[in-house]
């Protein structure tokens, strides 16, 4: 059935637009990826992202730390490296990006869960069904071990139901704060959600998560005015069927891709699309990715992991150090450790301290590429003309489109350093390399590279 049309971008769809799409729907282009995507046209490009063919292929070398494979379930921070690697090497960027969206939407922190094994299970769930039915996703999340641990669903029992998950299910996951539910609904939903338990084994942790009938409150409850012997499935179903849900879902999902709010017509059209699709995620994401505001509106600040993954992906570099863990944490985003149940705050990615972390991230990404005047062979020596140096540094990052302001700043720098090399043979040999190293670093931290 046809839905009310959502506005579609009518302007050009060249490499520039394809690049922006790859940043919003993924982790930026691999070399040549933006050109290839542009050739498919807007519809073909979006279709290739929302309906990727076959299983994901990870391109390039798997991660290794000091020559050893990583241990994502066991070694501290290797969960972060494991996922970052997928972001860098995936052939299905939107699937990984949606996994990140759900990690933020249903934010769960290992700070509380205390098990990388259980966190990774949840992560696989997001990857597996992150573009399917939202009701199905919300159902699975509700009884997901990490979530049961995080929001106290575990061992919430008849007689003493824990309200934590019940409240967030409505406030953050499906309806919005104070949107169409009462404190009584919170308490009744908490009763409906009772009954889940698990066993704790020393040396292994939580296991055997299950529904235990005798722990469940099976008496009558009233939620949103509806009466019944409600259980966890009805708790979720009632939220998704709630008249306030489509608007909340569409607005929240939109915010992950476009930094300015949609107009009323777009909003209404997306809601209709969502409801008519049977609460499916894929068509709504597809429509947002074709919307004019994505291409014509302002840029978005890259989150720290998107920034880091993007640098490595652009260069085709593998994960070979644990440094990404603390560097991304310092920049404000350690995967599997969102700050609280409402996820990361996308309006706060840049401040003076976090910018310095991004400087260090770029520094680390460039370390293996840096020229050393003491060892460089003459043939791959960078040029000594300032303008050529700037162009080469921009080309290093895939020909990123810079404003005149930034270009001028880079050129002024290169001119000054090369002027200081005049009449000094040693400097004439070394300064192009030093300047080139610096220019690549400056391009990597430029406002244009922080945003897309």
């Amino acid at each position: 059935m046809d839905s009310v049309p959502v506005p579609v971008h009518k302007g050009p769809f060249g490499p520039e637009q394809a690049e922006r799409l790859l940043w919003r729907a993924g982790f930026g282009p691999r070399p040549g990826e933006d050109d290839a995507l542009a050739k498919k046209g807007l519809h073909g490009a979006v279709e290739s992202l929302v309906r990727p063919h076959g299983p994901d292929r990870l391109v390039g070398k798997p991660p290794a730390v000091d020559g050893h494979p990583i241990a994502p379930k066991d070694a501290f921070g290797h969960d972060h490296l494991w996922w970052l690697d997928r972001m860098v090497r995936t052939s299905q960027p939107l699937v990984e990006r949606m996994t990140l969206v759900w990690h933020d939407w249903f934010a769960t922190s290992n700070e509380t869960v205390g098990s990388q094994r259980i966190m990774l299970q949840q992560n696989e769930l997001f990857r597996e069904i992150g573009l399917g039915s939202f009701e199905g996703l919300a159902m699975r999340v509700t009884i997901n071990p990490a979530m049961l641990l995080y929001l106290n669903g575990l061992n919430s029992m008849k007689g003493s139901p824990n309200e934590n998950y019940a409240r967030e299910l409505m406030e953050l996951f499906t309806l919005g704060v104070d949107a169409g539910y009462t404190e009584r609904d919170v308490r009744e939903q908490a009763r409906a959600l009772t009954g889940w338990t698990a066993d704790y084994q020393n040396g292994y942790g939580w296991k055997n998560f299950r529904f235990k009938r005798e722990n469940h409150d099976d008496a009558m409850k009233v939620v949103f005015g509806k009466v019944g012997a409600l259980n966890w499935k009805s708790a979720v179903r009632l939220c998704i069927a709630h008249p306030k849900h489509p608007a909340y879902f569409v607005n929240k999902l939109w915010g992950y891709f476009v930094p300015v709010p949609p107009d009323d017509a777009t909003r209404a059209a997306l809601q209709t699309l969502y409801v008519q699709s049977g609460h499916n995620i894929r068509p709504v994401v597809g429509a947002i990715l074709k919307h004019p505001l994505l291409y014509e509106g302002p840029r978005m600040t890259k989150s720290p992991v998107v920034y880091t993954a993007g640098l490595l992906r652009r260069r085709g570099d593998r994960i070979s150090t644990e440094d990404w863990i603390w560097l991304d944490a310092m920049a404000g985003q350690q995967l599997f450790y969102p700050p609280n149940v409402s996820g990361w705050n996308d309006d706060r990615w840049l401040d003076t301290s976090r910018f310095r972390a991004r400087w260090l991230i770029a520094r680390r990404a460039l370390e293996k590429h840096a020229f050393n005047p003491d060892h460089a062979s003459p043939k791959d020596r960078p040029p000594s003309d300032p303008k050529e140096l700037v162009d080469k540094a921009i080309a290093f990052w895939g020909g990123v489109r810079l404003t005149d302001h930034t270009r001028k700043a880079l050129l002024a720098y290169a001119e000054k350093t090369m002027a200081a090399a005049i009449a000094d043979e040693g400097r004439q040999r070394a300064f192009p390399m030093l300047t080139y190293n610096a220019l690549r670093h400056l391009v990597a931290v430029s406002p244009e590279m922080q945003t897309a």
Partner: protein
């Protein structure tokens, strides 16, 4: 004899509490029966030591608006120059009060400590109690004491002492005997007296946020070292290296009327450059921090941090509460003498230099420093020439304004021991907190400490 459940547990508690921003999250669960913390191959110490070199990291209930820090620092030159400051220094591991201030005049001492006991002539006599002597490593603190710059709490602790490093430190950090409390006592102070936009008011001079500074409302900052907010690059030196700093600043100032987000990214770079310049006042041509001080600090990381702190205060940075960790590790279950002496001497010498520095800079009246450890050690030594976890320990309050040489008494090694053989406390640490909150910061301690009503007060400052 040794019930050393210690070392593994201690390292783990240290790793965890020194882990990432704990602001508002409480301490992670590592008590028996609770789920294991992340992974079994956990090694946050390594992980964190790699992050030394990390600079200013801002934590807060609402993260700081990009410009606020620069503006707050700028405001400080106009106002707040006379604000009082509290510095807290944590000695990790539970240091041995019965060696640091050793009771050679107590008849039971030599009996309980056959191989560890120090002789009366090894350290200077303590003027507050003729039974006690200063550990030789603490000589510089003994000078401060002599000159009225140091109050000693010879038996500081709390009722029902907990012998887990983790739990006991947590109590001290949060200012309550409550494992669920998630904000620090200084954090709650700043929530009352602090500003919404001044992250420097609570300064964690560490690679991560010290738990005592965790706030619920206002931002606080972490600065590994005031001398470290640099923007260097790999293989960029000489003229290109010097000009790189300036070039970075020139990436700020980009204004795109149609794109506020791009403009904001550029603005942030401009602000980072400003902050770099402000902190850069202390950085010499050699790239090293120079704080222009006449005080003689030991050439150690701790010394440099304190020297940097004195310089920041002198420059008018709007700092109210500071927390940092002392060098050394005092969980001395074995071979205690060497381990204790090394760390303790550095701590004492650095703190004495800091006090001297503050006074040369005429900041003596504005700053007090509290030195604490999570507990003391067992009175009876173990079979490994060390000591196990105890109860009450020793604490110090340093400053030009301290009123007493000693608060609380040394309870002695006969009646002064509890049934586990640990020293009983004569001062509750929360009384010290309550007194400082009221007399130093002029705030109602009821608003900050849950048990304030039950606690006696001392005229400390």
């Amino acid at each position: 004899m040794s019930d050393c459940r210690s070392c593994a547990e201690f390292s783990r508690s240290q790793l965890l509490t020194r882990g990432f921003a704990k602001a508002g999250r409480g301490l992670p669960a590592v008590e028996p029966g609770m789920p294991d913390p992340a992974g079994t191959g956990l090694d946050r110490r390594t992980f964190l030591s790699r992050s030394l070199g990390a600079a200013l990291t801002v934590y807060g209930a609402s993260a700081l608006a990009p410009r606020a820090l620069d503006e707050a620092i700028a405001r400080a030159s106009a106002a707040g120059r006379n604000d009082r400051v509290l510095v807290t220094v944590f000695a990790p591991g539970g240091w041995d009060s019965l060696s640091l201030l050793y009771p050679s005049g107590d008849p039971r001492y030599r009996h309980l400590r056959p191989s560890l006991a120090l002789k009366p002539d090894e350290g200077k006599p303590f003027s507050g109690d003729s039974r006690l002597h200063w550990h030789p490593s603490f000589e510089s603190l003994s000078h401060l004491h002599q000159h009225g710059r140091l109050t000693v709490f010879p038996a500081i602790g709390y009722y029902h002492p907990d012998q887990s490093h983790f739990t006991s430190r947590h109590f001290w950090e949060v200012g309550a005997l409550d494992t669920r409390q998630s904000t620090g006592w200084l954090g709650r102070l700043l929530d009352v007296i602090g500003d919404e936009d001044n992250a420097m008011q609570g300064l964690s001079l560490d690679s991560s946020l010290m738990p005592s500074l965790a706030t619920a409302r206002v931002p606080v900052a972490t600065l590994t070292n005031p001398g470290d907010y640099g923007f260097d690059s790999h293989n960029v030196w000489d003229v290109p290296g010097v000009l790189l700093q300036e070039a970075l600043g020139s990436l700020g100032g980009l204004v795109d009327e149609t794109d506020p987000i791009l403009t904001n990214a550029s603005k942030t770079i401009g602000q980072a450059d400003q902050l770099r310049r402000q902190l850069g006042r202390f950085i010499g041509d050699d790239g090293e921090a120079h704080y222009n001080t006449k005080a003689k600090y030991p050439e150690t990381d701790f010394g440099r941090r304190l020297a940097g702190l004195a310089a920041l205060l002198h420059a008018g940075f709007p700092i109210r509460a500071v927390a940092l960790q002392a060098p050394g590790s005092y969980d001395t279950h074995s071979d205690e003498p060497g381990a204790l002496a090394n760390g303790a001497k550095e701590v004492a010498d650095c703190l004495a230099a800091f006090q001297h520095d503050l006074e040369i800079r005429r900041l003596g009246g504005r700053v007090v420093t509290l030195l604490w450890s999570e507990f003391g050690r067992r009175a009876e030594q173990n079979d490994s020439n060390g000591t196990d976890h105890g109860a009450a320990g020793v604490g110090f309050l340093m400053g030009a304004n301290v009123r007493h040489k000693m608060v609380g008494e040394f309870p002695g090694l006969s009646r002064g021991l509890d049934r586990d053989g640990n020293l009983k406390h004569t001062v509750d640490f929360r009384s010290v907190y309550a007194s400082l909150l009221e007399h130093w910061f002029d705030v109602d301690s009821d608003r900050i400490l849950p048990d304030a009503k039950k606690l006696p007060r001392f005229n400390l400052v």
